[in-house]
Symmetry: D4
Subunit: 248 residues, 8 copies
């Protein structure tokens, strides 16, 4: 029930077309639906250029294509994460302008222009094995309308390479740090900047990295103060977060 419908209901009550009792019944339940749709509008839909997001893991190729087909009818941009190449090829049939970032396993469909921010998000990554997560974050931030800069292969084992890029990193409005193995990069960057740092642990590593647990714990326990953390390999979430902050 949007504002218009709510107005109509009250007018009907005033005019006696809807009885008091009936009005009570409708109002005590319906507002959830209305506000619900309204919230979905604000959050998940895209009057303002936000893409519709499909999390493809655990979905079939047919399901992904079906969801995308419906979305296209609403003339919105689409972001599909954790997408296989097969999904991309299925999407191409219904949506020729779809693009695929193979490393980041991300499909983007841009049917409406996105206004780019002036300030930029810096995505800083430790090693080349972290690139899939970097690319997921990059594509997410891009289609959400952000200027994005990548600074990669600056792991803490070669701290000077990082130092050489710090000025550039410091000038970002918000920083996403992507690192696996011991994940120490977040602490070092966090200690050198006064900007919000969103840390993404990756599952890169072996043995006692326990699928990213090591990097996750490192980042949660960081002695640097401006760091918050998202789930392991969650490049999408970090970029979504960074985008909200970048647009404040």
């Amino acid at each position: 029930m949007n504002k218009k419908e709510l107005e109509k209901l009250l007018v009907d009550v005033k005019n006696g077309e809807t009885g008091i009792d009936e009005g009570i019944k409708m109002l005590s339940e319906l507002p959830y639906k209305d506000l619900g749709y309204a919230t979905i509008d604000n959050h998940r839909e895209i009057r303002n250029g936000y893409p519709e997001v499909i999390y493809c893991a655990g979905k079939t190729v047919d399901q992904v294509r079906g969801i995308a087909e419906y979305m296209i009818t609403r003339n919105n941009n689409i972001l599909a994460t954790r997408a296989t190449k097969e999904m991309y090829e299925a999407l191409l049939e219904v949506c020729p302008q779809a693009k695929y970032n193979e490393l980041g396993r991300v499909i983007t469909v841009q049917v409406r222009p996105v206004e780019e921010t002036e300030s930029y998000i810096a995505i800083v990554a430790a090693g080349t094995s972290d690139l899939p997560v970097v690319e997921e974050a990059y594509e997410t931030a891009r289609i959400l309308g952000n200027k994005v800069e990548k600074v990669t292969d600056v792991g803490v084992a070669g701290i000077h390479r990082l130092m050489a890029r710090m000025d550039f990193i410091r000038n970002a409005k918000v920083i996403v740090v992507v690192a696996g193995m011991e994940g120490a990069l977040a602490s070092v960057v966090g200690g050198l900047v006064d900007k919000p740092v969103i840390a993404v642990p990756t599952s890169v590593g072996y043995g006692a990295s326990f699928g990213g647990l090591s990097a996750l714990l490192t980042m949660l326990n960081s002695c640097a103060s401006g760091i918050s953390v998202v789930n392991i390999d969650n490049g999408f979430g970090a970029a979504y977060n960074a985008s909200i902050i970048n647009k404040l």
Copy 2:
């Protein structure tokens, strides 16, 4: 080596008072110290109203008092977290304007005025047992110069209490969500707002809450998109983060 000292060194080199070789030696190592101090200035010290922070856990009463005594000579505000009442009483001797938030275990010493932001940080908490973490976050955000509003006892088991406060929460610039036990509050709030949400799991709970692990995992796995997470019970870190964002 600050800018002044660096300038002096170059002048000395130009004048021949310092030889080329000697200059090389000094410059190839010293800048670390200088930039180091400069970084500390920007990050940890407080020309701009930032307090000096003492993390009291694992320190003795004497150590805490000693550090504070030194800080007072620099005429800075002080924030001491995880502080016992005994530490507070020791501080009072050297620093009569110290105040103690017993619930939040936080000592604050404000010797210089702090300019308050216009936008506010909302601290939203699930239950009354989460209040110590709320208070730590509150005091941190306050002395960092933020307007802060607390919305407490709105756990998801009584979702309507939360709903009734959502407009107020939505108007904050950044939201800190504090919850223990199952920690579901972060997901619900995250789904209703389009502002950055910093989630703080607390160690409130028993049995399979495993000292806050349950709430931590809940928050990391949130299906709502704009959420990032800090360490268990880390009210300070959440507020520090929120303050950076609130001042962007």
Copy 3:
């Protein structure tokens, strides 16, 4: 906003005392509060004999007494779990009819009669060390108006003692099984009855019981089909659950 207030609002709109716009504003937000309170009424309060519940862990003696004092003014029964003896003594001052089950750490205040069910809940426990959880469950189920029977010290290491009591257990409408250490009792009972079994792992044990984790995993993995599980040591939750089922 309860039904009466909602009715008044609609009447006011009809009469023109409240404008359409104002009505829209009130209705789009207030219903949460009203339904919220209504939900709390239905769920947590006690027109129908439900007690008000105070979870005392992490609360001070003063807080517990304060909450109880307020509750007493509403003329409701009270159930306070995880309560210390000190809390009980503080309650006695403001509420002389309070009773304390020391083993179960439960305070009950019965100011209104509770109608007892005809069907009974059986609380079956493995060992004497599980009795505190048994007592918490017992007091909870009692003040919620259930007939309750305890069958204790029937751990699986002496299966025949259990067998001798099975007829009695089978005649319950719902069964709560309380066990620590390896927690196998739930599976054995679950295999012998066709009633809902709510299993409560306890933290009784040492070494590789890891604070109740062993019993918890046992119960979750039970090969018997009618078993569901609550948190470690959560006698309250099991009894609350059992009470809902017992009253269906």
Copy 4:
């Protein structure tokens, strides 16, 4: 030894055809077998419409077909969970009326009519990836003779969609909540109803969901009171439980 055989034994003793000593020996051991079979009759077999259940995981196609072939001779309904398509095709050869729910990996064979309950079980699920567990629960509840209603895609990140369905959910006699990732749905539903809620954590998620551990802990630690939990992805167990309660 069924009742008939027991009667015959006592008659034989009375008549002297079986000596006292021999009777002692037979009775001190045999009853286990008899009561054992009797228990299996009551619990696992199906005079009253219960299906025979085959848990197919870890069984070969031949084993599953063999067990089913035997069951069919007893003219009972069959429920086979965690079944592959290959198993279904093998069953079809010996049992043409078998049906396969591919999403739920469930085979059902209904040879005898099942009387449907009037009250219904509501299966409420957070996301589309949870559907396999929903379908396992659905088929289980159906063949056990329950009316079942599914309410899907109502995750807490879009709380209003859930709110719009709450009346329908509240009218169920028992509610099964299926959710992965952070699993917060159980707490929210549990706070809005006064019916037994059986929560099923799913292994949906990645990274720090640790194969469903995150959702499991969330549900065990729920601050809502009427919730109990079954094993990760255990749609069968939840529905079996719900069926027992629905038929009370």
Copy 5:
């Protein structure tokens, strides 16, 4: 129902004093009770010199004294593990012949002679900090009637001290190995003997020993073939096990 009572029942049936129907009812349930008591007799009681065992952890001083007082009336030996000195002193009042092994936290009451085995159990321990568990095992094995030999302070970091004692260890009928920290002693001993080895991990250690988890995992993963494991610090269980084997 013991044999006598069973005989009486059959006689009554034969004589017509008990009807067939009534006999069926009694027999289909009562045997559990009878065999149950009989099993308890065989297992937990002590016609054959077995002590009655009290596990004192989680019991009050009064409970322990109460149980012991009852036991004494049955003229049996008593073994109380995890007993505090306070419990011992309380026991002394009702049972002057009680003895206390302070290191092992074990009370023994020997009122009837115990026949000692000829073969011996060797208890082999790594370090002096493992002695409490050694003593618990020692007292248990002793009162169960075993000859026992202790070989202590032979940790693998000084392998030659162990080697020097191997002949003695090899001559035992069964070997209990007690070790904390890395728990490697079990593997080394297991590789040098052809006797059953029962390994007891202890909670001795710090940091990554995680309360005995390290030693537990070591022992479970031993590459030596004749080793089985009991719970962390479970000296009683190891000795009970060893006693059963020693008496085969």
Copy 6:
């Protein structure tokens, strides 16, 4: 250095053919090698009918065949565990009398007769999915010369089936209990017998069984006293252990 060589050395010293100093050097190191070989003889080799054991996991088909070829030259029986069918077929080429237990993944080669014990080992298993571990244990115990009896499908969810077989189980000299999921069978059996019980947790299960961890913890925490535990799925180890005890 075997006894002969040792004798020769001493004779040489006596005769002066080996100098005192040289003797010291040889003796202070060489005995390790000699006793080492001797121990291997006693433990791992098979003068007394013990098979040579090959743990095939992590070995290539060629490695397994190579080791077996060598062993055959020593005219010993062979037991190869965790063996694939491909390994078996490769072995057949060099060793036509090899037999393969496909369910248990065990190859046995019996070239010398094994004397069978009179007493028997009972292998008791909960469900049909546990059979691979049962078979590994069975083949191991058989080729080690034990009489073995299997009692399967007696899980605790149908306790009466177990009860009906208890007399048979009680008459074994040592009992191996194999169970996955919640692993409660070990406790129930342990409470009913006075024989050594070796419990084998299996990885059968899903979700919160965590690959056998649940059953492992259950067995370690058993409240029954005569139980010891081996590694998850370690049928070989349990049978090896049982064999040592069975032959005492």
Copy 7:
């Protein structure tokens, strides 16, 4: 900025070709880059015979070949760990002198001679399944210029085989111990030598070895004093460490 460039800058400042302000700007940032490159030279590159290292896990065949092609232009030796045979074959095309250790999954390319140390590193391993890690360590230590000796199949279950090799092990300058399952070998070796011992836990094992966690904890908790530990299966890291020590 290397020394030459730094000298040029200071000369320019002295000559006035570079202004004081400009010099400050360059110096306050550039040194990071220069020292950075210099550090990389010292650490990762190979003026002194160190190979360039490629960690192949998570890289594509094309990426590995691309990196190697670039490295070859710098005329350095190459060490590629965790390399597949496919990667090796791709490398062969651009680098015919490449060699592949299939067991250790290591590619080495030696284009420049490496001077071998006189002292040797002993790599001591428990079982044949640990050989892949042994080989990774061996190839790493070799191309780093170390004399290396392997002592394999000396697990603690057959302690005498180890004893027979101890003199040889003791004479190494540094010892790498490789062991899976219970990992006890490190403690035994550590107790017998006075040389640095670097312990490598391997993922060899099953069940409660939890992918190497068991061996890792064992080694971290070793009661022998001279042991330090690297990540599970990290043969490269152990050998790199050992090489640094061997060349001190």
Copy 8:
């Protein structure tokens, strides 16, 4: 059996005072004891200035004093770790030259001079809360005869403070890095030096530091190559290791 006794035995054999058979028997067992003692001499005792080490945790004051009293009679230096002040005071009675490092909980007794190395061990620590571990390492390294330098409060959150000290750290022969919380310091230092780095995780932290687990995993997963790790808070082990390397 030391060399003298061994020589005597061989002389006796030569002279016929000891028969060949008797010699065989003595030699086949006794060498263990002898070599055992010899090994202890080399490893744990101190002809060469090594102290005797007492690990006090889990020992009583009396036990510690007793062990020390015995050691003093052998005229050796003593190192007692994890010692309480009460233990120190007890030691003072029997050993007036004892000294106590309260922060490090270490007692040292130096009765014989220790020759100091020329090269030094650098102990580098992240924060002030890590100092107890630093002091344990410091005292250990000192009494083992090493020159030691401490570099403290150089955590990665303020990387420039560390950079300013790097030259000093690089000149050490071996480096001990002590850090809690996220433990990232080890990776950063490891990337900047070409010396062996021994990393000590500490239990400093809260919440998701899980008693030092976070720092431990960080260090094990370090992407820097020359790092090995000891147990959490094991300052003694790190220093012992460093001492062996420093003296190579």
